[in-house]
Amino acid sequence: MKAVCFNFEIHQPFRLKRYRFFDIGNDHYYYDDFLNDDIAERIVHQSYIPAAETLLRMIEQTKGAFRCSLAISGEAIEQFEQYAPEFNDLLRKLADTGKVEFLATPYAHSLASLIDPEEFRNQVKVQCEKVKETYGATPKVLRNTELIYSDELAPQILAMGFKGVLTEGAKHILGWKSPDYVYSAASAPQLKVLMRNAKLSDDIASRFSDTSWAEYPLTADKYIDWIAATPAEEQIINIGLSLDTFGGLQPAGTGIFQFLEALPRFAAEKGVEFWTPSEAVKKLKPVDTISITHPISSAQEACDTSAWMGNALQNEALDKLYKAGERVRLCEDRRLKQDWWYLQDADHFFYMSTKNMGGAAFSPYETPYQAFINYMNVLSDFLVRVDEQYPLSIDNEELNSLLTTIRNQEREIAALTREKELMSKNLAQYNIEHRKEDAPAADAPKAAKTTKTKKAEPKPKDAPKAKAKTPAKAKAKKA
C-alpha cells in the first residue's frame, strides 16, 4: 500500500504602494489596493477557482477516495473576502466534503517562527481561528511559512497542539534517506515530520510544460507509474505545490487541469491511495528520527532561509520590524495590529533578495534596493505610530506593569458600572412597588428589602448617583 499526500499552498501578500519618505508621519495607509485587487482577481479566476473546482469534482467522482490538504494564510483569506468571496464559498464546499484537510500556517505568511516565538504562536492561533470561522475546519497539522522547519521549532510546534508538521525534503538533510517516510522530530519525538518529495513535486510545478525535458510530456499514468515504482516500503509521498501551479505557473493550455483530474483513475488502477497529512500522521509509525539543526525551507536550490534573510538589507529590515514586536502586542489598536501582521509577510523580504538580480520572480519592484527603500519608509511610519502609542522612553517592563494597572482598573470600573446598573434597576423596581404598596399584597416589599440590603454593601459613593438617577427613570416609566 502506498499513498500520495497532496498539499496545496494558497497565499497572497498585501503588496505595498509606492511610499516616499516624505509620506512618513503623514500617510498611514500602506497598501496598493488596485494592484492587490488586480492580482487577486486574476489569479483566483485563472487558477484558484478552476483548480478548486477540479478538486471538488475529483472528490465527488471518486466518492471521497481522493483527498488532499490546503494551507491558506490569513492574509489570503482576507483578500478573498474583499476581492473574490466566491472563492471562499468554493473552499467552504471543499471543506464540507470532509475530504480536504485545512492546515495551520502563520496568519501573515511570516518568518516569525525564526525570530519571535510568541508572535509565531499568536499568528498560528489566529489563522486557525480564521479557518474555523470561514471554512468550519480545525487545523491539526502545521505547515510553516515556506516549509521552514528546524529542531528548535519542534518542541514549540508540539506544545501548540500539533501532531505533525510538513517540511521540505531537503537533500542536504536527508542525504541517502528518502523523504517518503514519516519521521519523528529529534528534539520532540512525539512530533511527526512529513517531508516534501522535491523531485516529484517539481516535476509538476516547474517541468510539466518544459519541452526540453526528457520526460516531456508528463501524463497522469506515467506520473502514477513513477509513484508506484518507488520501493514498497516507501509509503507516503508528499507532493507540495502552490495552488497557482494549476492555471498560473502551468497555464490551463498545457493540460495541467486534465492531468490533475486523471490522477485518481490511474492511482486506483495501481492501488495508490490519497491521504491527508492527518491520516498519514495517524496511520504511519515514524521509521527514524530526523535532526535538522539549521532551518530549512522550500526555497529553490539552497533550501535554507537565505532567500529572506540572506543579505544586509533583509536583516536590517527584519531586525527593525521584530524589535517592535513586544510593544505592538501590548497595543490594542486594531489597525496597528493589522499593519504589524501585513508588514511581516515573508514576501516583502524576498523582494529584497540580491540573489537573482533583476529577476526576482513575482516582485512588484524593479530591484531589491527599491523594495528595501519602499519597505523601510513604510516601516518607519509604522514605528512612529507605535512610538506615539507607547513612547520608547518607557521600557517594556515598566510599560507592561503600567498597562496591567490600567487594565485592572478598567476591569474594576466595568464591574462597578455593571453593579451600578443592576442596583438602579432594583431601585426603580423598588420605587414602583412602593408606590403600588398601598394596593397590592405584602410580598413585594420583602423582595425589595432584600435587594436593598445588598445594595448598601459595595460602594457608598455610587449610591447617591444611582438614587439621583432613579426618580428620572421612574418618571419615564410612569409616562
Partner: protein, 415 residues
C-alpha cells in the same frame, strides 16, 4: 582608428572610452592598431597602439631635412613616418594655412571653427590612408566620420563607425542640422555601426533611419583604477555628501538634482549636495538652489580634473546622474569603482548593464529623493550597494567589449 580625444588630454567620456576600447582590443591580441588624433601632446600611452597626430601629417610638400623634422616633431612622430606620409600627398593644399612642415594646425578641442577642423582632419586622413596598410577603418563619433568616409573612398576598405553619442542626446531633441547631416552621412557610408547602448541603437535606427541589421550594441566598460587613485586621501565633512559630477548642461538634467536635494533637505538636514562641473546651465542652477533656499547645503566647486575627480568621489556617500539622455555614461561606473553607491536615470545607457544601482526616471524627483535618503540613512543599504557595486563593476572590463568589436570586424571583413 580615428578619434578626437585620447587620454590624458580629455574633455569628456569620449577619450576615456576610445582609449579603453583600444586597449581592450589590443589585449585580445594579434592586432596592429593605429590611432589618429588631431593633436598629440607626447605623453600619451603608446604601448598598445601607434598614435599619429593629424597636426604632424603633411598635406603639402615642404623640402625639409631629416634633422629638422626630428628636432621639430620628434617627440610625437617618427621622422621616417613623416617622410613616408610626405611621399603620399594627393593634392596641393597650399591654399590652406599650413606651417613650415606642410602640416595643418589643430587645437584638438572643440573650438568655434570646429567644422573647419573636422574638414582639415579628413584631409589628413586622405594622406594617412594612402600611406599605411590596414584592413579596416574605425571612426569614433561624428567628428571623425568624414575622415572615415574619406579613407574608405580612397582605399575601398570597410568602415565601422562607433556612435558614442548622437546630437539627439546633446540637444534634448533640437538637433543641429549640420551635425545631423554629418552623423547620418557617416551612418549611411558605414559598413557597420557600433553603438554604446541599446538606447543609442534605437536612436540611430529610428531617428536616422538606419537598417537595424547593421547596428550592433557594444556596451562600454571601465579600466580598473590604480591603487594610487583608490587610496586618495580626503577629509570628509561630518555630513553625508551627495555628488553630481559632469557638465552642467541640459543633457545632464542638473535641475532635477537640485529639486531632489530640496526634497531631501526638507526632512533631513544632515546632508550636503555637490554639483561639480561647469557648463551653460551652471548660473541657472546656482539661482535655482538659492530660490529653493538650500544654498547653504548645495555647493558648486566647479570643474574637476584628474585626481580631483577621485578625491571628490572618495568624499561622497552617494553619486547621482539624473541625465535626461545619456548614450552610455561612464561616470557611475567610476563612482562604483570608488565604492560609492549610485543613482542613475533610466534614460542612461549604462542602466542597461548595471544591477546594483538605483534607477529612476530622470523626472521622478520623488523617487530620487527617496533613494538618496535611503542610502544616507540606512547603513545596510549603503554597505550592500557599495560591496555589490564593487563586485559588479570589476566584471565590466574592456577586453570583453574589445572582443565584441573584433567579432564585428571579422563579420565585416568576411563579406
Amino acid at each position: 582608428m580615428f578619434g578626437w580625444e585620447f587620454p590624458p588630454h580629455i574633455l569628456g567620456g569620449l577619450g576615456t572610452a576610445s582609449y579603453g576600447l583600444t586597449q581592450g582590443m589590443a589585449q585580445c591580441g594579434d592586432m596592429d592598431i593605429t590611432f589618429v588624433i588631431p593633436k598629440p601632446w607626447g605623453d600619451e600611452d603608446r604601448s598598445f597602439a601607434q598614435i599619429i597626430g593629424a597636426s604632424q601629417v603633411p598635406v603639402t610638400w615642404r623640402d625639409v631635412s631629416r634633422e629638422y623634422v626630428e628636432q621639430r616633431i620628434g617627440k610625437v612622430m617618427d621622422p621616417d613616418l613623416y617622410f613616408r606620409l610626405r611621399d603620399h600627398l594627393y593634392a596641393d593644399f597650399n591654399y590652406l594655412r599650413t606651417n613650415d612642415l606642410g602640416c595643418l594646425e589643430f587645437s584638438g578641442r572643440y573650438p568655434d571653427n570646429l567644422l573647419e577642423e573636422i574638414n582639415n582632419y579628413s584631409i589628413t586622413a586622405g594622406v594617412i590612408a594612402r600611406t599605411l596598410d590596414f584592413d579596416i577603418i574605425h571612426s569614433h563619433d561624428w567628428l571623425t566620420y568624414p575622415a572615415g568616409i574619406h579613407a574608405k573612398q580612397v582605399t575601398g576598405k570597410p568602415l565601422v563607425i562607433h556612435v558614442h553619442a548622437t546630437d539627439y542626446d546633446r540637444s534634448r531633441g533640437n538637433v543641429n542640422p549640420t551635425v545631423f547631416n554629418i552623423e547620418r552621412d557617416g551612418m549611411l557610408h558605414a559598413d557597420h555601426i557600433i553603438t554604446v547602448s541599446n538606447l543609442t541603437r534605437n536612436t540611430v535606427i529610428e531617428k536616422y533611419g538606419i537598417d537595424p541589421a547593421k547596428v550592433t550594441t557594444v556596451h562600454n566598460a571601465v579600466v580598473p583604477l590604480s591603487q594610487e587613485l583608490l587610496d586618495v586621501e580626503v577629509t570628509k565633512p561630518k555630513e553625508k555628501v551627495v555628488t553630481f559630477l559632469g557638465r552642467i548642461t541640459m543633457q545632464k538634467g542638473p535641475e532635477y538634482f537640485v529639486e531632489a536635494a530640496a526634497k531631501v533637505l526638507k526632512n533631513n538636514r544632515n546632508v550636503r549636495f555637490v554639483m561639480a562641473g561647469s557648463g551653460d546651465m551652471m548660473d541657472k542652477m546656482i539661482d535655482l538652489a538659492a530660490r529653493r533656499g538650500i544654498s547653504d547645503r548645495f555647493h558648486f566647486p566647479g570643474f574637476q580634473k584628474g585626481k580631483q575627480v577621485y578625491e571628490m568621489l572618495k568624499a561622497s556617500d552617494v553619486y547621482i546622474m539624473p541625465s535626461v539622455s545619456e548614450p552610455f555614461g561612464i561616470s557611475p561606473l567610476e563612482a562604483m569603482q570608488m565604492g560609492v553607491p549610485s543613482i542613475i536615470s533610466k534614460q542612461s545607457g549604462c542602466a542597461e548593464i548595471l544591477d546594483h544601482v538605483i534607477k529612476t526616471d530622470y523626472w521622478d524627483i520623488d523617487a530620487m529623493a527617496d533613494a538618496i535618503n535611503a542610502i544616507i540613512t540606512s547603513p545596510a543599504m549603503y554597505n550592500t550597494m557599495r560591496k555589490e557595486g564593487l563586485e559588479e563593476v570589476a566584471k565590466i572590463t574592456w577586453d570583453k567589449a574589445g572582443q565584441k568589436v573584433i567579432d564585428i570586424y571579422n563579420k565585416v571583413l568576411a563579406r
